[in-house]
């Protein structure tokens, strides 16, 4: 029993409750202070993961809470994600007619749920942590309650989200029925036992759990909400959804794979299923993005496509695959948040999310143009940017498995397809003439965030071993074999 392990979560929850109370005392014109408090809280969460008692790892609450290298890495990514989301939220929230305090409170609560997701070690915490994230996002997506689009997006997310939560729950019920326990430690012992036999009950349970988690990661067939919700939600929340919520889903997938994948029998059954989902997700996302004219919808489809690449690494699992997945997720945080920061500030001046309104952006505002270009190139996987290394590692991990060669071909085809629609946006920004002469006003803290993201993306792309130094040990610590069996 070692509750100090939960220090980052305590900080996040305390900040959420503190912001909610502080909001009551603040006059209406000074709500921006809450954003500063939230940003400080994210830095504190990040710092808390380096406190020796936390960074050494261990388990708490009777083994239902686990801190290891993967959990710590993800916690740091979640803290960075929340920080960058608050950076881009401040001006956006100032424009909202009401509910500024609640906005920051809910964002921090969602962050605390994600932090717990990184460390869950039993199905009860998994379900509750996941629902903390999902329910906070239901409210945040429908936050502009006078806007028909926002409310409609909230309703759509609510319906699909609840179906997937029920599927997940039913899957957990089957796993519990097959094993008589909800603790991951028991499963690890069970599947590693020499006399382990995979029952249909257990397999159906695991598949249903993956299906339920597919909602968070926007994997086919639980992807249908993504484009609509991304378009209708407030833009910073779209950014948060596309990074934080997705990574929370992936870390849970990796955790469950780490637990059950220890048995070669389960791994053999899961790999074709995950590979099929990865292939479908890749094609759906990348082909769906081509005809889009709205940048937020485009990013919605792009986010489905990116989920396909991460799933490629997940399907190839075991040490190399998990290491590649963690690398991809690190790259994805900085890439996607840089792109969404630009979207937020461009929309502030043009009041539109049409891709046509990005014409001439590079000349109108070189910093926004450069950040958008580097972000999109990173998503497309152009060397020497961080996103390229992530794709290279994920596809390489799949290539190492003879039965996944066809998936590698799918991945490569989709790299080419995705290049087309990302480059279309870049072409507009650099070659076409500006439609809107207005210069988007960008505050200093956003400029700093964009410059830092660009440095990480290019620096990490030129020296990927620096990023790998963080992700590879986290995967190695899981104690899995390099390849299955």
């Amino acid at each position: 029993m070692n509750p100090i392990l939960l220090l980052p979560e305590f900080v996040a929850v305390a900040a959420a409750l503190g912001v909610m109370l502080y909001d009551l005392w603040l006059p209406k014109d000074r709500k921006a202070v809450l954003c500063t408090v939230s940003m400080v809280a994210c830095v504190a969460v990040f710092a808390a993961t380096f406190v020796p008692a936390v960074a050494d790892g261990g388990t708490a609450f009777g083994g239902s809470y686990l801190v290891d290298g993967m959990a710590l890495l993800l916690k740091r990514l979640f803290a960075i994600t929340a920080l960058l989301v608050f950076v881009m939220s401040r001006d956006y929230v100032e424009d909202l007619p009401r509910g500024r305090g609640e906005y920051y409170t809910l964002c921090l609560l969602a962050t605390s749920g994600m932090l717990i997701c990184a460390s869950v070690n039993d199905f009860m915490s998994l379900f509750v942590a996941l629902e903390v994230v999902t329910v906070s996002f239901f409210v945040l997506v429908a936050f502009k309650r006078d806007s028909t689009k926002s409310v409609e997006a909230g309703l759509k997310m609510l319906v699909i989200g609840s179906i997937s939560a029920a599927l997940l729950l039913y899957g957990i019920a089957f796993i519990y029925g097959a094993t008589g326990s909800v603790f991951f430690a028991d499963y690890r012992a069970l599947v590693e036992a020499p006399d382990f036999v995979l029952s249909t009950e257990l397999l159906v349970g695991i598949l249903l759990v993956f299906l339920g988690l597919g909602f968070k990661t926007s994997a086919v067939p639980m992807h249908v909400w993504v484009p609509d919700v991304y378009e209708g939600a407030p833009t910073p929340i779209t950014a948060f959804l596309s990074v934080g919520s997705k990574l929370a889903g992936f870390v849970l997938m990796l955790r469950i794979l780490e637990v059950f994948g220890r048995s070669g029998v389960v791994a053999d059954e899961l790999t074709p299923f995950l590979a099929l989902i990865a292939a479908l997700t890749l094609f759906y996302g990348n082909l769906g993005a081509i005809p889009q004219t709205n940048i937020k919808r485009l990013m919605g489809y792009s986010s489905i496509g990116q989920c396909g690449y991460i799933l490629l690494g997940v399907a190839a699992a075991w040490e190399t695959g998990i290491s590649a997945t963690l690398f991809y997720m690190t790259a994805y945080v900085f890439t996607n948040l840089a792109v969404f920061t630009v979207i937020v500030y461009v929309a502030r001046s043009t009041k539109s999310h049409e891709i046509d309104d990005y014409s001439g952006l590079a000349r109108r505002h070189p910093l926004l143009g450069a950040a958008m270009t580097i972000g999109l190139l990173s998503l497309a996987g152009v060397p020497p940017i961080l996103g390229f290394v992530g794709k290279f590692l994920a596809i390489g991990a799949a290539f190492a498995r003879p039965e996944l060669q066809w998936l590698v071909v799918c991945g490569l085809i989709n790299v080419v397809v995705s290049m087309y629609y990302y480059l279309c946006v870049i072409k507009r920004m650099w070659i076409k003439d500006a439609r809107h002469p207005a210069d988007p006003a960008v505050p200093r803290r956003v400029k700093i965030a964009l410059v830092v993201s660009m440095i990480v993306l290019i620096g990490g792309g030129l020296a990927p071993q620096l990023v790998e130094k963080m992700t590879a040990p986290a995967a190695a610590q899981l104690g899995l074999s390099k390849t299955p069996r």
Partner: protein, 119 residues
């Protein structure tokens, strides 16, 4: 598999004809409830009815948990159900708030009103 207590069936010949009620019976019932809920979510247009169907899905899973809990003679499944009930309550509160917001902006709670986002 631990059999359920079936002494009360003796009073009803019709039920007694079913034989012993095992965990499998409860799991089949739970899957039926789950399927009815899923069918409702997919086919209904009224947001409130969809919410009711979602609750049905969650309760189908709850029944499976309780049945398995009895079968394994440990309480983890029953404790899980308490968590699910709490989460479902939170979810229902948020869902009703969103439905009210939909009613305000659209003047109805039918999903046919929510067709602005597509493509």
């Amino acid at each position: 598999m631990i059999a359920m207590d079936t002494t009360f069936l003796a009073s009803s010949p019709a039920l007694a004809a079913l034989g012993e009620i095992t965990t499998a019976h409860y799991v089949v019932l739970s899957s039926l409830i789950f399927a009815v809920g899923l069918f409702g979510v997919v086919t209904r247009k009224n947001a409130v009815v969809i919410l009711m169907s979602l609750e049905l899905m969650l309760n189908g899973a709850n029944l499976a948990f309780v049945a398995f809990s009895r079968q394994h003679a440990n309480l983890q499944g029953q404790v899980f159900v308490f968590f699910v009930i709490a989460v479902a309550a939170a979810e229902a509160a948020v869902a009703l708030a969103i439905i009210i917001a939909l009613n305000r902006v659209k003047g109805g709670v039918s999903l046919d009103d929510a067709t602005e986002l597509k493509g």
